[in-house]
Symmetry: C2
Subunit: 281 residues, 2 copies
């Protein structure tokens, strides 16, 4: 019996900025043997208010950069990018691509008791209908109420996580979900876990929150197992961080999201990458 | 005596998004004979949280697009872009470039009675020190208090202009300015005039607000007169609008800023323009 070598290529993870670090954290906790490369497109953040066309263009570029790092699987750790660009990414790339919408929707479909599911996300994610479609397939009987919460991202990025302002903002956005008596609320944006406390407080004890990070990490583990592409069990997974704007600024905000300091992010300029003109994968 | 023909080339105006429309409006009111071309870089908005390097790169690209439209003068209708990129733009372009910082600072220097001047702006504008330097030169005796207000841009973009949330946010940000007893407050971001009411209310009657739009329009008029580059007095100025993301979304928000509907904005992709490699004129 030979030594099991494992596939030591890294998992690629991208987001518009820092939000996807909550997903990276879950992936690394679930798969401690895997290496990871994270790209935050901080020069173009946020994606949530931008159009499908622009978000797709940026997503392809991010994927192109990560493919150059030799990744074996891509995690789209941004709900807006998943909602708008997942089909195009899956079509263009030759490696598996995992988004955050389907795992979050599946978790909500499993957990709801009264069949009333709420989804909150960026304007782009909500208007794309991606969660609504996934839930219609996974839980056809469910009543879905979706609500865009555009101010949650700037609040999370600025670290206004508690107190009067986030509370009032949450009360305004969440009123239709309370009225719809949802018992399950999908945090359909990777920034929202930072505001979990105030969101839970406003929603009350009758509603459980679904953070798609863990569900996504589970799907990643499954895909790697199916492909036989797991890292060697004796290896200790390491992560590298890249951002398209200043690395210092990123490190500051990022530590709030990752729950630990970022050891040396690196700046990259990917503005000239156009993956549609190249053959990746 | 011949007929005065005038210079019918347009004035170029750019901003990261919709905020610069408040400047465009002031320019068009001051100079009704002039044509104008507006570019909102909505695919990369906001600039206020991004680095000097990235904002400069985007600003050069915006300028490159407007130069291709044959403009005779460029207005940088964004405080962050002015704060970070004005010297580079003035150095690279062969036409006059007018920013919004100097006119706003000059207006504040003229109006203050007690020599205590406040400046509010994005994180980028405030950290650049551009207003602080301009005021140190224009009003050497003045005590300047600068405060970044990062949540004001998303509030303005989302149309949360009155009520409890903007009020609480304004109270938090403006406390140091009230404490410093400023009698003059520069709205150092083209989005902030939309929040004028709540800002004025929180500051109280002892502080006057300076909106740099009108002061900037006056500087544009002076520069055109100096250059003898005014439009023909009998002409009726027209404006064209370009955005780097979806034109529909822009039209929605833009009407709030311009105070009138936008007649047909046009989408352009400028991501491949790199003006540092070209010689613009």
């Amino acid at each position: 019996v030979g030594v099991q070598r494992g596939d030591d290529r890294p998992i690629g993870v991208f987001d518009s900025g820092v939000g996807g670090l909550t997903v990276l954290r879950a992936v690394r906790e679930r798969l401690p043997h895997e290496h990871a490369v994270y790209l935050g497109d901080t020069a173009r953040v946020p994606y949530g208010s931008k159009s499908a066309e622009v978000v797709t263009r940026y997503s392809l570029r991010n994927a192109g950069f990560l493919l150059e790092q030799g990744i074996k699987l891509l995690v789209v750790a941004c709900n807006t990018a998943t909602a708008f660009a997942l089909p195009e990414l899956q079509h263009t790339l030759k490696i598996p691509v995992v988004g955050v919408v389907e795992p979050g929707a599946a978790a909500a479909a499993q957990r709801t008791q009264n069949g009333r599911v709420g989804v909150i996300g960026t304007a782009g994610t909500v208007s794309s209908g991606a969660y609504q479609r996934a839930l219609a397939r996974l839980a056809p009987q469910a009543q879905v109420t979706a609500q865009a919460c555009p101010l949650f991202v700037p609040l999370a990025e600025e670290g206004w996580l508690t107190g009067e302002v986030p509370r009032r903002v949450a009360e305004t956005y969440l009123a239709p979900l309370i009225q719809a008596r949802v018992d399950t609320l999908v945090l359909g944006c990777t920034h929202y876990p930072l505001l979990k406390e105030v969101i839970a407080d406003v929603m009350g004890p009758g509603a459980q929150l679904v953070d798609s990070a863990e569900a996504t990490a589970e799907v990643v583990a499954q895909r790697l197992a199916e492909l036989g592409a797991q890292g060697a069990p004796e290896s200790q997974g390491a992560a590298r961080y890249f951002v398209t704007d200043s690395a210092e600024r990123f490190a500051e905000v990022a530590s709030r999201f990752l729950g630990a300091p970022i050891p040396g992010a690196q700046h990259v300029d990917i503005s000239s990458l156009d993956p549609r003109e190249r053959s990746y994968g």
